[in-house]
């Protein structure tokens, strides 16, 4: 295990060093992402300026949703790049080489590429810090732990989605564009409390992709929103574990996909 981790960090550091050879590209990529997301948050601010509130939720509360969702997505995006772009390996047949090496496929694919984009992380950190400062929450150890669990659960969930997307390409060869609807669409959805959506849509993002378990449900407990906290504290507090379970299931499906893998022969 320790050996595996050491190897992973070695792969990551090689990737980072090669990225840093293109410094201007790295800076432009990060700055562009920051700029793009900052404009999107300004649009949310403009809507709040016009409409006052969003079904009883304030801009600061949305800011927390936004910060946690985009922050955890940003981390997953950076470390999960190897899975995100995995279909290229299937298309070119490069995955066959990985199968010949005396190491697990998850480790090799995870350490294959490391994304250097820090714009999303930086921008969501700014929004997150502002939200924490403006929210009237009495912070104690339990609440901080819950916030941490939301974040980690979110990273696991989004990472799991990237793994799932890679797994599907064993069969489809191409990356399915519709997966963008649940990854990037998931971040768009997670920016807002789930109550604002239609019931069928809420069910998808609670039971199929447990996004609600890592943001809306625990956040409701954090804010003490009556609509949510009536569901039971214990249940809400452990809900972020769903992100971990989702990642576990994704990795299982990955193992199954590897077993069924049939090279494209190119």
């Amino acid at each position: 295990m320790q050996d595996t981790l050491a190897l992973y960090f070695r792969l990551v550091s090689v990737c980072l060093r090669s990225k840093m050879q293109y410094r201007a590209s790295f800076v432009l990529l990060s700055a562009g992402q920051f700029f793009s997301l900052a404009l999107e948050f300004l649009a949310i601010w403009a809507l709040f300026a016009r409409f006052g509130s969003l079904k009883g939720w304030s801009l600061a509360e949305i800011g927390l949703f936004y910060g946690v969702t985009h922050g955890s997505f940003a981390v997953a995006e950076v470390i999960g790049r190897g899975f995100d772009t995995f279909s290229d390996m299937i298309k070119s047949g490069d995955f066959d080489r990985f199968l010949l090496r005396p190491r697990g496929t998850v480790l090799q694919v995870a350490g294959r590429e490391f994304d250097g984009r820090l714009g999303r992380l930086a921008q969501s950190a700014v929004v997150f810090a502002w939200a924490i400062k403006s929210l009237p929450i009495a912070w104690d150890a339990g609440k901080v732990a819950l916030l941490g669990a939301m974040f980690i659960g979110g990273v696991c969930l989004f990472y799991g989605l990237f793994v799932l997307q890679a797994t599907m390409s064993f069969w489809t060869i191409e990356t399915l564009e519709i997966m963008n609807a649940v990854t990037y669409g998931g971040t768009e959805t997670g920016q807002y409390p789930l109550t604002i959506y239609k019931p069928w849509f809420r069910s998808i993002f609670t039971f199929v992709i447990p996004l609600a378990c890592v943001n809306y449900l625990p956040a409701g407990l954090l804010f003490g929103h009556s609509a949510v906290s009536s569901m039971g504290t214990a249940l809400l507090a452990i809900s972020p574990v769903a992100g971990l379970l989702f990642l576990g299931l994704s990795l299982l499906s990955w193992q199954y996909g590897v077993k069924r893998y049939c090279s494209t022969g190119s």
């Binding site: 990529l29 404009l39 403009a46 006052g52 969003l54 519709i178 609807a181 604002i196 959506y197």
Partner: protein, 263 residues
């Protein structure tokens, strides 16, 4: 003129080959449209104050935006980018047509072919199931078509200008990273311009990008009175001419100093 039409129709047919991509794009854009629709409806339900654009019209606005997203000048032409990098752009200079005109035609095909392919099914589905409405009368329909043509003319002029910057900078990384969010926000695609803070609206109205989205969509919704319509059309035309002149000048200048790499 004939050679331009030939370029246009050849590119158009190439781009129409990507039917699977269009099908995938359809599914994704439908999903996005639904998310955006629910978010806006939730905002409208939160306030009883009168808004410059009604709740029902915002739904139509969003679906039009999802369907016609591809009209926006949001990316560079990847072929031109590759040509500039590997030096085959030299062949472009040998062709017996005006280079700017040829690239404008490429842009026209790039903006229209894939968009039309996905817009038609998306508008149909949105109209049948998700509350998108047709124009209220023939007048609005005509105004919409005219302003949409203006939007496409401007969009292609701007796309060509962006492509021309490739010849100057080679990498095009800056343009590729910063233009899309700017265009997306200032055109009214992110949120309708009339919903922006009041102090910002006059600035956005002068800038060119509202010609792409806000102008034709407001015409569609019947929110463009005749005087404003004339002004909006002039706005589209002036910015198109500015972009064409700038693009042409930059291209002529950089071709004169161009160094072809490789050999």
């Amino acid at each position: 003129m004939k050679s331009y039409l030939a370029i246009l129709s050849a590119r158009f047919r190439v781009l129409l080959q990507y039917r699977m991509a269009a099908a995938a794009g359809f599914g994704t854009q439908l999903f996005w449209g639904l998310i955006r629709m629910m978010i806006f409806q939730a905002f409208y339900d939160s306030s009883s104050a009168a808004q410059p654009i009604s709740r029902a019209d915002v739904v139509t606005y969003i679906w039009l935006g999802q369907a016609l997203l591809g009209f926006l000048p949001w990316n560079l032409d990847s072929d031109i980018r590759a040509m500039v990098r590997n030096g085959t752009v030299a062949y472009e200079l040998l062709r017996p047509v005006d280079l700017y005109g040829a690239w404008y035609m490429r842009a026209l095909a790039q903006r229209t072919a894939p968009t039309i392919l996905r817009a038609i099914p998306l508008l149909l589905v949105a109209g049948l199931f998700f509350g998108m409405r047709p124009p209220a009368n023939a007048h609005d329909l005509v105004c919409w078509i005219v302003t949409t043509l203006g939007a496409i003319a401007f969009s292609c002029a701007f796309t060509t200008l962006m492509n021309v910057t490739l010849v100057v900078t080679v990498s095009g990384e800056g343009v590729a990273r910063f233009m899309p969010p700017l265009v997306y926000t200032l055109s009214g695609m992110l949120i309708p311009i009339s919903l922006l803070p009041a102090w910002l609206i006059p600035i956005v109205n002068i800038l060119p990008f509202r010609a792409l989205v806000d102008t034709p969509f407001r015409a569609y919704l019947g929110q463009l009175p005749d005087r404003e319509f004339a002004f909006a059309l002039a706005h589209q035309l002036v910015w198109t001419i500015v972009c064409v002149i700038a693009g042409r000048a930059m291209l002529t200048r950089s071709v004169r100093r161009m160094v072809i790499q490789g050999g």
